[in-house]
């Protein structure tokens, strides 16, 4: 569709050594953080729903690298990776998961409802599809102020069948709002595969009726994601209206912690983990180019592990919110 004209031919532009190492570091932080969150959930320290991002790390890391300072990000409830990519502190995210006062929502939001105005992260929303209209509104404010900002609005293949997504597409295209819609197609809406839920499974085509250019992207390749993200952000920022990027990705874990994921085969998951893992793929690029050896990468691994361990400790030592917080933040 429309974006092809601006697309660089052939392979992805090369990333520098520093960029590749940063991608590796950022994706590894998300994975180790999520593994630790899963562990704390298993220990009963995290309550309620907890949706892990493991497997999809390349999407947020690649997209975030395409942004400028001030650009906004909004997503649904599988949001821990987005927050880490936005630069939010691992401690305050983990402490929100454990419901402590040191959490970014003071323990009042939990896994699905986290925000950071400082990092332009607007949540963290629990109702499937609602964030798409909200993100369109953030973009409306950008256009109203003519401030050059772009809003990245993420949703999943499940949300792609919600009506308000298309109400939003229509207004965004009609008013040429600076929004990039990113559908993270991990192929399962909870337990329902995309083939069982969607009459058109190529979700990048879902903007056709609104003249929104769409593109399918290998969401397991952080460089492909960054390339597509740069093109899309430029398109939206230049006043050309929205873009729809379909990130083909895969979640290794169940929909939430309590989902055994029996709707797909072990072989399918194993295939993705062994042949398509986004972290392994970037790691291979790094080692093939001789940018780092196994020992260097181990060192990064240790540093990440220290950050995550510290966040888990903070999340358990930070006190529960004071009882007085019960009735604050209801009104301004």
């Amino acid at each position: 569709m429309g974006l092809a004209a601006t697309r660089a031919d052939g392979a992805h532009a090369d990333a520098t050594k520093d960029e590749l190492l940063q991608f590796y570091r950022d994706m590894l932080l998300i994975r180790r953080f999520e593994e630790r969150a899963g562990q704390l959930y298993g220990m009963g320290l995290i309550g309620g729903f907890c949706h892990l991002y493991i497997g999809q790390e390349a999407v947020v890391v690649g997209m975030q690298s395409a942004l400028r300072p001030g650009d906004q990000v909004i997503t649904a409830y599988r949001d821990h990776g987005h927050m880490l990519a936005c630069g939010m502190d691992a401690n305050e995210i983990m402490a929100e998961l454990t419901g402590r006062s040191g959490g970014c929502s003071k323990g009042k939001g939990g896994s699905m409802h986290m925000f950071s105005t400082e990092k332009a992260f607007y949540g963290g929303h629990g109702i499937v599809g609602a964030q798409v209209s909200l993100g369109t509104g953030l973009a409306f404010a950008n256009r109203y102020r003519n401030d050059g900002k772009v809003c990245l609005t993420y949703f999943g293949d499940g949300a792609a069948n919600q009506g308000q997504v298309y109400e939003s597409f229509n207004m965004a295209a009609l008013w040429k709002l600076p929004v990039v819609y990113i559908v993270e197609n991990n192929q399962y809406a909870m337990g329902t595969s995309i083939e069982r839920s969607s009459s058109e499974t190529h979700l990048h085509k879902r903007g056709v009726s609104f003249n929104i250019p769409g593109e399918e992207v290998d969401g397991m390749d952080v460089l492909a994601v960054r390339e597509a993200g740069l093109r899309a952000a430029e398109h939206a920022r230049s006043g050309n209206g929205p873009v729809l990027l379909e990130m083909k990705t895969y979640r290794y874990r169940g929909h939430s912690m309590s989902d055994p994921a029996k709707y797909r085969t072990k072989e399918e998951v194993e295939e993705q983990k062994t042949r398509n893992d986004p972290i392994e793929r970037v790691k291979k690029r790094i080692t093939d180019a001789g940018y780092a050896n196994e020992d260097d990468l181990k060192q990064i691994d240790r540093e990440i592990r220290a950050v995550v361990t510290a966040s888990a400790e903070f999340a358990q030592t930070s006190p529960e919110p004071d009882a007085r917080e019960l009735l604050t933040d209801v009104y301004l």
Partner: protein, 461 residues
Amino acid sequence: MTQILMPALSPTMEEGNLAKWLVKPGDKIEPGQVIAEIETDKATMEVEAVDEGVISELLVAEGAQGVKVNTPIAVLSDGSASVPPPPRGAGAGGGGRAETSAKAPPAPYPDRPPTPTPPPQGGRGDDLEIPAGTQMIKITVRDGLRDAMAEEMRRDPDVYLMGEEVAQYQGAYKVSRELLQEFGDKRVVDTPITEHGFAGLGVGAAMAGLKPIVEFMTWNFAMQAIDQIINSAAKTLYMSGGQIKSSIVFRGPNGAASRVAAQHSQDFASWYSHVPGLIVIAPYDAADAKGLLKSAIRNPNPVVFLEHEMLYGTEFEIPDVKDWLVPIGKAKVKRVGSDVTITAYSRMVGLALKAAEQLAGEGIEAEVIDLRTLRPLDSATIVESVKKTNRLVTVEEGWGQSGVGAEVCARVMSEAFDYLDAPPTRVHQVDAPLAYAANLEALALPSVAKIVEAAKAVTYR
């Protein structure tokens, strides 16, 4: 040395079976590696390692049944990272989370936590405080609302209006007449017919710091958008620990118009006034419509502003002062009386005032209170009145069950029970969808006659 604990698959799981070990002592393991499978009656799941190291011992044998959550199942040595300490409150038996939380003492908070109420915003007092000598002018409710929006849009460039037919058509009910001409299409925005979408878009714009006025052609259509009003606008301040604000006004005609039947004739006052985080306003006359809408636009919280189509063309006197503001959260005594208190809001205030005149002819002096703001509800004014009259009639256009009248009655019972000389009585729409037929419509809705009848009943006349 680090212990690997039996994990919980869900918040309610207390124990499970260790179906299979995928590692043995001496194996080196990596984070993310599957080390075991556990199962409950509902599901089987894989246990992944979080730390790297060498398995030095398996503490629970493969096939073990009923392993309590948080029981150590293996020992990992040479782990470079520490494992967090056991969870708080885990009993000696290693009970699951459900058990733990059930036994946990309740959080210490005050016996009767005060209801959070928004601080008064702007507001120069209501018209009881109009300076002496102020000239009164006559305007319609429609123009009062229009002027409120125009004045606030002149005052603050972040305020804009969006909705169906608000711009070129000049408003489906002409409430936004001439705003497009003055402010242009950037700030007076015609939307497609897409309530769910533009309500959400408005909330998003508010989260970014704009101050949208979202007009619903009628509140009936806002049911398509109620998720965004409640889940996004009303709750996000709380869920974000005070970070994300939504200064937004949702407004439009509410309640029964005339002969438009069930789907276009509903009073949503009780629906929205149920929700913490929202402010709900339902004015009657032009002075309140204008002064409260101006206060609503300036308020930093999400406001549901319920107008009435049948009042748009009604003229009222309004003080001719610059920047007329009416405080949110204050009821107004529209008629002083000693025998019975009648509470009403929106169009029902007019009916209550007529009923009071009729009652006066029969020797009953009714005190009529216009609630004006339904959340926060001004209990004090109501209770003070009932302490004087000892009798209460509530009037609302909506259905009775879980209605505004039910709330008013409950508050009076709890705060002025000993002052009551008769059971409080509610006047409301009959318990059925509103009919189209003229006679049935009239029978369904509150009327002057029904209010008079109720007032006589509580005064035993």
